[in-house]
């Protein structure tokens, strides 16, 4: 049996196992085990990659000529490793987090968390747009119960917004984009160089707009509001799903659509990539300005995510080899940095009850490790050396110079300044400002809670010294 299909099958089996054991106390451990097995699958796949790449496996024929089918390429491989290894970390974190925050109905959490990861892996494996769309919608549906997990009025209202934005854009823009692609190109398979053989520019323009708005999981403005809404969810959800799995799926699909559906040629000759560049640039600046005004830590991180996602979209849309390299690198690095930030925010909220930046005074004395990790994450986000964030930004700048769109330098510089001005106050407050009032609750580090974050922090630092390996992999295999 095909390894990709069996991976997905295993995850569905995992959901049944969790459902079956839902009354047990060790349910969190089961979930950790499932994510561990999933990572093992991924490592095995990485090991076997040469025999798996570009092997298409058709499962069922949903629409004549367009089956539900899986395949693997090098780009998928990168995202696959990232999402599954971070899943393991987050599931270790969530076990303790849910316990400390006294959440009930843990099994529901784990069921839909696993389902979300199933959908993410499905998106990664899909070899045509229909399969992508199916898992894309599944991901929206699977994350909805997690966003509304608290069940109070606020989370229901926000959950509705989340759902309307994501399902609405996918129904109104994404689906017709896919159907139009099918009608014009006759196929929906991802193909290196694109699927359009003879096209007119109008169709390309319409399709670019439809895809850009339709894949709202990439949170390009104006359809970004769902992401701040999703922040009502418990922290592990915000961390893994709304900083990695969901949003990166959006960007990942957009990347694949630009490279393997339109193809670089069709986009550059028609000039349609300018549309994407404009929207992404606007999003980068606007979201940074909004982030400045947010005091709530998670909301500030959410708006930061919106901006960083548009970096990836922008870098791809520039379509220069260096910028595409930067896009893929940033996909990895942002995931690492942002998950550290979110998990730190979760630890801070759990241990001290602090949810706003303005309350973070002298936090480092209470949570030294967490604050250190948070600072690392923040510096990655700003893109300062010596962190991985700098590397992707460096290649992005090279790409901009290469493509001679020099006005974009201004966007990057301005947004870096803005990033710095909303991240540095967090670090400054935590380390240098005197505390105004004493905190409630225990103030020592919880080692189990901190362990996965420390691990991710190590990985982030480690990767900085191994970047040449990743760069080599990407330049040789993908570009």
């Amino acid at each position: 049996m095909n390894i990709l299909a069996s991976h997905i099958l295993f995850l569905s089996l995992g959901i049944f196992i969790i459902n079956f054991l839902r009354k047990e106390k060790f349910i969190g451990l089961v979930s950790v085990l499932i994510s561990l097995v999933s990572l093992t699958y991924v490592l095995y796949i990485v090991n076997m990659q040469d025999s798996l790449i570009n092997q298409k496996i058709d499962l069922i024929n949903i629409i004549p000529g367009i089956p539900l089918s899986f395949s693997l390429d090098h780009l998928s491989l990168i995202f696959l490793v990232i999402s599954n290894s971070l899943w393991l970390m987050v599931s270790i974190f969530s076990e303790k987090y849910l316990e400390l925050n006294k959440y009930e109905n843990k099994s529901k959490f784990y069921i839909f968390f696993t389902l979300s990861m199933l959908a993410t892996n499905g998106i990664i494996y899909s070899s045509n747009l229909l399969t992508t769309f199916i898992f894309y919608e599944l991901l929206t549906i699977a994350t909805y119960p997690l966003v509304t997990f608290k069940g109070d009025h606020k989370s229901i209202v926000n959950g509705k917004k989340y759902l309307y934005y994501l399902l609405g854009t996918s129904i109104i823009f994404f689906l017709p984009a896919i159907i139009l692609t099918h009608i014009t190109a006759g196929t929906l398979d991802y193909k290196i160089g694109g699927v359009f053989t003879n096209y007119n520019n109008t169709t390309i323009y319409i399709l670019v707009i439809l895809f850009l708005f339709g894949i709202a999981k990439s949170a390009v403005m104006p359809f970004h509001k769902w992401l701040p809404s999703a922040m009502v969810a418990p922290t592990p959800v915000s961390a893994l799903l709304h900083a990695v799995a969901v949003v990166k799926s959006g960007v990942f699909i957009l990347l694949k659509v630009m490279l393997f559906i339109f193809g670089i040629d069709a986009l550059t000759t028609s000039g349609a990539n300018i549309i994407i560049i404009l929207f992404a640039s606007f999003t980068i600046i606007a979201s940074s300005i909004i982030a400045l005004s947010k005091d709530n830590i998670k909301l500030r991180l959410a708006y930061s995510t919106i901006g960083q996602l548009s970096y990836i979209v922008l870098a791809t849309a520039i379509l220069a080899p260096y910028s595409i390299l930067a896009a893929i690198l940033h996909l990895i690095f942002h995931a690492l940095g942002k998950i550290i930030l979110f998990l730190s925010a979760g630890i801070i909220a759990t241990q001290t009850g602090i949810k706003n930046v303005s309350e973070m005074n002298n936090l480092s004395s209470k949570l030294p490790i967490t604050c250190l990790l948070m600072s690392i994450g923040a510096i990655i986000m700003i893109g300062l050396p010596p962190t991985i964030g700098f590397i992707s930004k460096w290649y992005l700048l090279l790409g901009i110079v290469e493509s001679e769109k020099l006005y974009l330098l201004f966007v990057i510089i301005l947004s870096t300044l803005l990033n710095a001005s909303y991240y540095f106050p967090m670090i400054y407050k935590a380390y240098f400002e005197k505390e105004k009032f004493s905190y409630k609750g225990s103030s020592c580090e919880n080692i189990i809670l901190a362990f996965p974050v420390i691990l991710i922090g190590f990985i982030a630092v480690f990767i900085f010294f191994k970047t040449d390996f990743i760069v080599k992999f990407i330049t040789e295999q993908i570009i």
Partner: protein, 490 residues
């Protein structure tokens, strides 16, 4: 000669009077169930036969066609027959408890007899190849329907039945006039004969009048905007089991008549194109989709909400036909089947849970998610199907519908279709939120029996199945539309 087509008609027609003699409620139910089941089996084998070997023409009493009455079982008829008989069987099983508690004891056996006669009427309309015969069967089904609708135990039920009677009769009169004019012009009532003779006949004024009258009559039957008012009232006040039954059958029969008359009988002059009726119908159904979706969003009464939703979905079906492309016809036929399954399932859940409620408000669904987890999961699946999410049959419908529109000359109306399809989410999510997030109120929902629940599970399972494996819906629909558009040997 293959006897299957006539058996489908004769079986319920014979059993109905026998039940009248026995006057026994239990016996009546068991016999109706048996007959419906047998009918379903007959129709499946008929479909199989027709799919393999082509049309069956059955001369009643062996009288030759233009003089005698002929039954015509082609793929289109079998497709609709299958849908109708399946819906009838499911509703009989799931509705038994409701019938017992809603209908007066003395009337229960009459109720089942009317049900069977209604079935005969529907099958007759679908199978007959004689246009006057079609009118007769239409009347049979209508008369039975009036009785069935009037059995609701609300005050408004009789009123709803009378309204249905009036409006239905007006529709029928239009159709009768149209048939009369056709007969005067061509001298024949046999459909195949008609379609041959209309070629030679120049399109006269009277012929145009006939076409217009057909359109109005069929428009009433299919609840084409602005002729949809009766449907909402009927669906609100009729016994809910009848609503479940009719939502999957009655209006779809209207769609069948529309297809048969305009694409088959008038095949050679293609009136929809000739008089630019297609544009008119497109326009009307677009407004219908928009308005009824808006109304559905506003409703707090669930049956009304679903009724408006039905009007919207029917408008999609009509809209797809009016595109006048093979893709459009395929899309509409696929949606006929998928929508029937989904909507019947939804109405059945309402029927089963709220036997005694006159109005079922959205609030009545509060907290049912924890009370009936399995049943509500099935309900959820059906609702997701209504939105048209992937892996449900609704998605398949939407795919072909949007695809057909984008390939036609009217690609811009896809905007309206997509936006209304998104708006479906608004009213569906109201229900889902109530079911899963509201605290259970003190409601008097009745506990579903095993057989009732099984019916719902089956419909939900079919919704998923038809979202993955489409050879039944798409395969046959595609075949039918190919026959209509490219094949002249009819």
């Amino acid at each position: 000669m293959n006897q299957l087509p006539v058996l489908v008609l004769i079986l319920p027609l014979l059993v109905a009077p026998i039940l009248l003699l026995f006057r026994d409620n239990r016996y009546a139910y068991n016999m109706s169930l048996g007959v419906s089941f047998l009918n379903l089996l007959l129709i499946i084998s008929l479909l199989h036969y027709v799919y393999e070997d082509g049309n069956i023409l059955y001369e009643l009493g062996s009288w030759e066609a233009p003089i005698g009455i002929r039954l015509n079982a082609d793929l289109l008829s079998c497709y609709f027959l299958l849908l109708m008989s399946f819906m009838s069987l499911i509703c009989l099983i799931a509705g038994h408890k409701n019938v017992k508690s809603q209908i007066e004891d003395d009337n229960i056996y009459l109720f089942y007899i009317a049900w069977l006669l209604c079935n005969v009427g529907f099958s007759g309309i679908i199978l007959t190849n004689d246009i006057f015969n079609l009118f007769v069967f239409l009347e049979i089904s209508s008369l039975a329907s009036y009785f069935l609708i009037s059995q609701g135990n609300y005050k408004a039920s009789s009123l709803a039945a009378i309204q249905y009677l009036f409006i239905g009769s007006i529709g029928a009169v239009f159709i009768l006039f149209a048939i009369g004019i056709l007969y005067a012009n061509t001298g024949t009532l046999n459909m195949s004969d008609l379609s041959n003779k209309i070629i030679n006949n120049n399109i006269s004024l009277s012929m145009s009048l006939s076409i217009a009258m057909f359109l109005i009559g069929v428009g009433i039957k299919t609840a084409l905007f602005p002729l949809h008012g009766w449907l909402v009232r009927t669906y609100t006040y009729a016994p809910s089991i009848i609503v479940s039954y009719f939502s999957g059958t009655s209006t779809k029969i209207g769609v069948y008549i529309l297809l048969r008359i305009f694409l088959d009988v008038f095949h050679s002059i293609n009136p929809l194109e000739h008089y630019e009726l297609a544009q008119l119908i497109l326009f009307l159904s677009l407004i219908g989709v928009l308005l009824s979706t808006l109304y559905a969003v506003k409703q707090i009464e669930v049956k009304k909400m679903l009724a408006y939703s039905s009007v919207a979905q029917l408008s999609y079906i009509i809209l797809a036909i009016a595109l006048l492309t093979p893709e459009g016809l395929t899309a509409s036929l696929v949606h006929v089947f998928n929508h029937s399954i989904i909507k019947t399932g939804l109405f059945l859940v309402v029927t089963i849970l709220f036997i005694n409620n006159k109005d079922v408000s959205i609030d009545d669904f509060s907290g049912l998610g924890s009370k009936y987890p399995l049943l509500m999961s099935a309900f959820l699946l059906l609702l997701l199907g209504l939105i048209g999410l992937p892996l449900t049959s609704g998605f398949i419908s939407k795919w072909y519908l949007v695809s057909a529109i984008l390939q036609s000359d009217y690609w811009y109306i896809s905007v309206v279709v997509l936006i209304t399809s998104f708006m479906t989410l608004f009213y569906v999510w109201l229900l889902i939120e109530k079911i899963y997030f509201s605290v259970s109120v003190n409601h008097d929902s009745s506990i579903p029996t095993i057989s009732q629940s099984l019916c719902i599970y089956l419909l939900a399972a079919i919704t998923i199945y038809l979202g993955i494996e489409t050879s039944l819906t798409f395969g046959i629909s595609d075949q039918i539309s190919t026959n209509f558009f490219y094949n002249t040997n009819k």
